[in-house]
């Protein structure tokens, strides 16, 4: 294989691809990036057998061929080349990379051992409103679990219904749901996709223009196409917990407050909460909420946030939350205000954004023994 390619494009492709290569793979070839020159394209692929990426970039190909190169070596090398054209030339299992003033040769591996990676969307693909999806991902993905013992919770549920799409993620302590009105796909369908793949999709998606997706039922895969990048991910098997049941239908106590005020108060409380199981206590008053935290070692703290409180029980109301969950939720809110619906100190709090009716977040309170 022999070709000429722009350093800017190649380096960008490599940095994306290197995130998909598995660093601790038992099989060395999976830690490699696959390069293939065909017609006037250079194809850059990598996979960890769960997700895969295939990026094609324009190149001047003088002879076709393929090779795999250790991911870390080539991406660190190419990123430091001076911008402009660089030459790639592979001879058996050695890849020579050269520009006007630099010359390096990297030993790679034969490409036959590299698994086959999806390189196209397939016949039936659906266009997706990119901006809306990326925003939804940023509001939902963070709520998915990182705990591998419950694989299904590490995924995000895509629930297609008559043109609409709901994205749901939960880690068992909180739940995030975002509805999209028009998803460009008009069948009822349910897939659960891994959190990791979706975070990558969100990163790649920022730069590119359009977004398409296709389902590969028999391979148990979903393939996304973003510009010249094809990202495939496996579908998680299993039943997503029945989340509809746990969303409270109505809440007696309604609190609405300013997002930034609340975030500041939560951050203040977190200084002390960090030492005591992340617990932040909310005490509802007639005209505000007192947010407090204390630590036996470091001290205590209390701040009052103005709020509109409806349905306050006569005896007052207290509830405790994990501040991390609150913080992450507040970062995902786009509007300026936040509504909180509560029913009792053991039932999940319903957090909503009044400027976005399609976004809903549940957080389970922490039970505190008094």
């Amino acid at each position: 294989m022999k070709l000429e390619v722009l350093q800017e494009n190649f380096s960008r492709a490599l940095s994306t691809a290197s995130r998909f290569a598995s660093s601790r793979a038992q099989l060395p070839v999976l830690g490699n990036i696959y390069l293939s020159a065909k017609k006037n394209k250079l194809l850059v692929c990598s996979t960890n057998l769960e997700v895969s990426v295939a990026i094609s970039i324009g190149a001047k190909v003088s002879s076709e061929g393929e090779i795999t190169i250790p991911s870390r070596v080539i991406s660190e090398l190419v990123v430091n080349f001076t911008p402009g054209a660089i030459m790639l030339n592979s001879e058996k299992e050695i890849l020579e990379i050269s520009s006007s003033n630099t010359n390096s040769s990297v030993s790679g591996m034969n490409a036959v051992d590299f698994p086959e990676v999806p390189q196209s969307l397939g016949k039936t693909s659906y266009s997706f409103p990119k901006e809306a999806l990326l925003q939804a991902l940023s509001q939902v993905v963070f709520a998915a679990s990182t705990d591998e013992t419950r694989p299904i919770l590490t995924g995000v549920l895509f629930l297609f219904k008559k043109g609409g799409l709901s994205l749901v993620a939960t880690d068992g302590f909180r739940l995030s749901q975002k509805k999209l009105q028009d998803a460009g796909f008009h069948q009822e369908k349910k897939v659960i996709l891994p959190k990791s793949a979706l975070s990558e999709l969100a990163r790649i998606g920022i730069e590119e223009q359009d977004l398409k997706l296709s389902f590969r039922e028999e391979d148990n895969q979903v393939v996304f196409g973003v510009g010249d990048t094809i990202l495939s991910t496996r579908i998680l098997e299993g039943d997503f917990p029945e989340f509809e049941k746990i969303i409270p239908k109505e809440t007696n106590i309604k609190v609405s407050l300013d997002k930034d005020d609340l975030l500041r108060a939560v951050k203040l409380a977190s200084v002390f909460a960090r030492d005591s199981a992340n617990i932040v206590r909310f005490s509802l008053k007639k005209d505000g909420v007192v947010i407090a935290a204390e630590s036996q070692m470091a001290g205590r703290q209390e701040s009052q946030v103005e709020a509109k409180v409806e349905g306050l029980p006569t005896g007052g109301f207290e509830i405790s939350f994990n501040y991390r969950f609150l913080e992450e939720f507040l970062h995902a809110v786009s509007g300026g205000d936040v509504n909180i619906g509560l029913s009792n100190e053991n039932a999940p709090g319903v957090f909503t954004d009044p400027s976005d009716v399609n976004f809903l977040h549940l957080i389970m309170p922490v039970r505190v023994q008094v």
Partner: protein
């Protein structure tokens, strides 16, 4: 769920393990753990002399890699283990054995309320948890009833209404009915369902008449979405109860409610059952469940031992299933087996199983109430052997085998002491009897003919 089990199906895991072991030798550990460790045997079918094998792979990458690079190696290894040529297909699927049960999610957000709600529902509806379609073993004897019950649980009130399940003791009538109830509750814990026995229904009416609360009784029953009545034959011959049931039945079915009943006889055989009730019952679907066959008993033994956390190898499962012929005694036997193994601090072994089966009659209720001499005549008649020869000295196989069966029956079914059995069978030593019982116990698990002989003789008694 277990469908009809055949020996080849039972060995698929072993077959695949053996195949993988031999592949492990020929490839590097990294290749093995990346490509092969997560594969499993999804399906195996015999077509003529060839086997068609479907290999399950966890991801499409694994599938294409094995398909393109290791196909020949896999095929060779399988051909060697199966001693027949085979065709391979590949499918992307998660290994079903490794699936974790996601609905046992023990996180604050999910579990608590759900469980309380459903537990409360169990209390309210009198449905006992633990009887589900998942742990109901199906074979030809109860396939029809199972299919009907599943249809009813999918579309209650419209598929078959009423559903009438009948069959002998311990064949799984109530299990199926409870499974329908469980299914309906799992879908909607607030569903109005009630499970009562025929007797409870009767008592309810009697109480209603006595306390003048018949209206409350009617309200309770006539607003149900599904009514499950166990042992409906109990209401036969009780006029007021039958009258009330007739009206309840009509009110329920008119409102689209489902009625499910079990009985030990078909409606036409229940004496003193009012004609109009009979005809109502016959308007729905009447299914019967026959006593479990050998394969089904194997499956039941496996399910029950799994529930009790007892590890039983297949050959022991077969020994148990061959010698005990109903579900409840099997359960009783397993309890006994587990407690014996604990008491003696031994592993569950074939010897232990055999010794317990040998004196099973003490714990397992006697089913045959016959005199020893009747048994001797029955065996003699079944094998067309003269009694004199049967009890005599001859040791040729055609005489000795029936004699062993005779000793087995006297010991197992009548619960006679070993020496007494020896005395009856021509004054033989008790060790001879022990040997005979063990021999037949073992043979019954392997030999269909012996099982049929035993069943035939038992039936003739």
């Amino acid at each position: 769920m277990y469908s009809a089990l055949s020996t080849i199906m039972l060995d698929t895991k072993k077959l695949w393990r053996d195949t993988l072991e031999s592949i492990k030798v020929s490839v590097s550990p990294a290749i093995f753990s990346t490509w092969f460790s997560q594969t499993f045997l999804a399906k195996i079918e015999k077509q003529g002399t060839r086997f068609v094998i479907e290999v399950g792979c966890a991801s499409p990458f694994i599938k294409t890699t094995i398909e393109s690079r290791y196909f020949g190696m896999l095929q060779d290894s399988l051909v060697k283990s199966l001693e027949a040529s085979c065709d391979l297909t590949f499918v992307v699927r998660q290994n079903p054995d490794k699936k974790t049960f996601e609905h046992t999610l023990d996180t604050p957000l999910f579990q608590k309320d759900d469980k309380e709600e459903i537990n409360e529902a169990f209390l309210r509806t009198h449905i006992r948890p633990g009887f589900t379609f998942e742990n109901f073993a199906v074979s030809s004897s109860n396939q029809m009833a199972h299919a009907a019950a599943e249809a009813v649980s999918n579309t209650p009130g419209s598929a078959y209404n009423p559903l009438f399940i009948w069959g002998g003791v311990g064949v799984g009538k109530t299990h199926l009915m409870l499974a329908i109830g469980y299914c309906l509750l799992a879908e909607n814990p607030l569903a109005k369902i009630l499970f009562v026995s025929g007797e409870e229904f009767t008592n309810g009416i009697v109480e209603g008449i006595r306390n003048k609360t018949t209206t409350a009784f009617r309200d309770k029953y006539r607003r149900l979405k599904a009514l499950l009545i166990d042992d409906i034959q109990f209401i036969a011959g009780k006029d007021a109860v039958q009258e009330e049931f007739f009206h309840t039945f009509n009110a329920l079915t008119n409102a689209g409610g489902q009625v499910i009943m079990t009985s030990d006889k078909p409606p036409s055989d229940i004496s003193k059952l009012e004609e109009r009730l009979k005809s109502r019952f016959e308007a729905g679907l009447i299914v019967d469940i026959a006593p479990p066959d050998f394969e089904l008993r194997c499956a039941i033994t496996q399910i029950k031992s799994k529930e009790r956390g007892i590890e039983l190898p297949m050959d022991l499962v077969q020994v148990i299933a061959a010698n005990i012929d109903a579900a409840r005694p099997i359960e009783g036997f397993l309890v006994k087996l587990a407690s014996q193994a604990r008491l003696r601090k031994t592993e569950i072994s074939e010897d232990l199983v055999n010794s317990l089966i040998g004196k099973g009659a003490e714990s397992i209720a006697l089913k045959i109430r016959a005199k020893p001499l009747d048994v001797i005549s029955a065996v003699a008649k079944h094998f067309s052997v003269g009694k004199k020869y049967l009890l005599g000295e001859s040791r040729v196989r055609p005489i000795a085998r029936p004699r062993q069966i005779l000793m087995y029956l006297l010991r197992r079914e009548l619960g006679l002491p070993l020496t007494e059995v020896g005395r009856l069978v021509g004054g033989r030593d008790h060790t001879t009897v022990m040997h005979a019982v063990e021999k037949i116990t073992h043979l019954a698990s392997e030999d269909v003919q012996i099982r049929e002989d035993l069943l035939g003789i038992k039936n003739s008694l």
